[in-house]
Point group: C2
Chain length 246, copies 2
Amino acid sequence: MRILITAGGTSEKIDDVRAITNHSTGQLGCLIAEAFLTQEITVDYVTTAQALQPAAQEELTIYTIDDTHSLAEMLDSLLQQHTYDAVIHSMAVSDFSPVQSLSQEQFLDKINQLIVRQQPVTKEDLQLFSESTQAKETKISSNTDQLYLVLNKTPKVIQQIKQRQPETMLIGFKLLVDVPKEELISVAYQSLQKNQATYVLANDLTSIHNGQHHGYLVNQNGEVEAEATSKGQIAQLIVKAVTKHV
Amino acid sequence: MRILITAGGTSEKIDDVRAITNHSTGQLGCLIAEAFLTQEITVDYVTTAQALQPAAQEELTIYTIDDTHSLAEMLDSLLQQHTYDAVIHSMAVSDFSPVQSLSQEQFLDKINQLIVRQQPVTKEDLQLFSESTQAKETKISSNTDQLYLVLNKTPKVIQQIKQRQPETMLIGFKLLVDVPKEELISVAYQSLQKNQATYVLANDLTSIHNGQHHGYLVNQNGEVEAEATSKGQIAQLIVKAVTKHV
C-alpha cells in the first residue's frame, strides 16, 4: 500500500526577499504520516522547507517544494511514477500568485492612461495593471508610500490528482474562518464534488487552538461521517477511512 | 554589559491564513547571540516564532514578535526597561503592510468611480483604493481571477532606537539583491546616516549561498572597516566592533 501526503503551506515570491505565505505548521500532516507509517504503509510526503517534517524512517520519502508551480510539477511527476492507493492533500496551497508590483507613481500613471480614453473601464482593460513597467525588480524599492500588488489566481493543483489517477482515493481539506458549521460542511461538500474527492476534512480556524483541532470528515453524500477534536484524532480518522476503503 | 539583538523576519497579515513574510532564517542572529553569550554578555533577543533561536541559557532572554507593529511595541518596551550597550538590528523588517484587498470587480468599480469625474487622478485620489468596501474579511475569497492588494509603508522601526537611547551603539543591516559593491556600500552608508548607526553590515543576497555569506562592515566614514565571508565571521566582526567600542 502506497500513500501520497501533502502538508505545510506554499509560499509565492513577490521578489527575492519577500513572499506571500499560507500559514501551516505541517503538524497535522506529520501526525497523518506517522499514523500510516505505524501500519508499515509506504508514504511519499510532499512538504515545504519551513514545515515540520515526520522523523526519517524506511517507508517514508520526503519531497520538498516551495510554490504552487513547483507543487504542481512535483505531484505530476510522482503521480506518473507511482500508483497511490490514496492521496491526502492537506497542504495549504496559495490561491493567488503575485505578477506585478507597482509604486504609487506607476499605479497613478496606469490609471491616468485609462482616464484619457474617456470611456468606462472593463475587465479586459485591467490587463494594463499586470503589464510590466520596467525590467523585473529583484527587490522592490521601499521608496513609495503605497505599494500595489497584482495577483493572478493559481491553477487548482488538487484537480490534477484524479485526472492523473482516477482510481486513487482522494482526501481533501477545507479550512474556513469563523463560519457557521452548516456553511463549513456545505463548502467542504462543494469542494469534494468539484475535485472528485472521496472525503473532505472540514475545519474552521477558530476551532483550532491549544492542542484542540475540531474536524469533520465529510463524505460523498455531503454528510459528516466522523468527527474529531484533536490533530491526533483527525489523523486516526483519515487512516481508518483509507484502510477501510482501499 | 547588555546587548539587544533582533533577528528573523517579520510577517504582515493579509488575512487570517495568509501573510507577506520577509525571508530570514534567523541563523545569522543566532550566531551573533552565541558569540556574545560565550563572553558572558547578557543578551535580549527579539525574534519570530518561525526563525531559528539560540539554545536556552542563563544570560539569554528571548522575546517573540510577529509583525512590524508588535516589533515596534516590543523595542519600545525593552528600551524603556533596560539600558543597552549596543543594539544589533539584524531582523528583516517588512517595508509594507497590507491595508486592503480587492477583487477584480471591486477594483474595477473604484477605477470607474474615478473615471466618471473626467479629470486627471492625483495621489490624493488613490486614497479610494485603501478604503474598505465591506466588513473586513477573515479569509479572502478565491472567487476572483485577479486580486489587488494595497499596502502602506510601515514606520521605520530602526529610527526609534537612537531616539530612545542616544547613547547606545547601533549596528544596522542592509540587504540588497544583485547590485555592484559600490552601490551596496553607498546605500548602507546612507542608511547608517539616516538611522544614526555606528556601523551597518552590508550584504548582497547573491553572495549568500552554501554556507558562504559575504558581508562588509561599513563605518561612519562610509568606509568598509572589515569584511567577512561567512555568517560565523560576520558574528565575530560584530562582537569585536561592539566590545572595542563600548
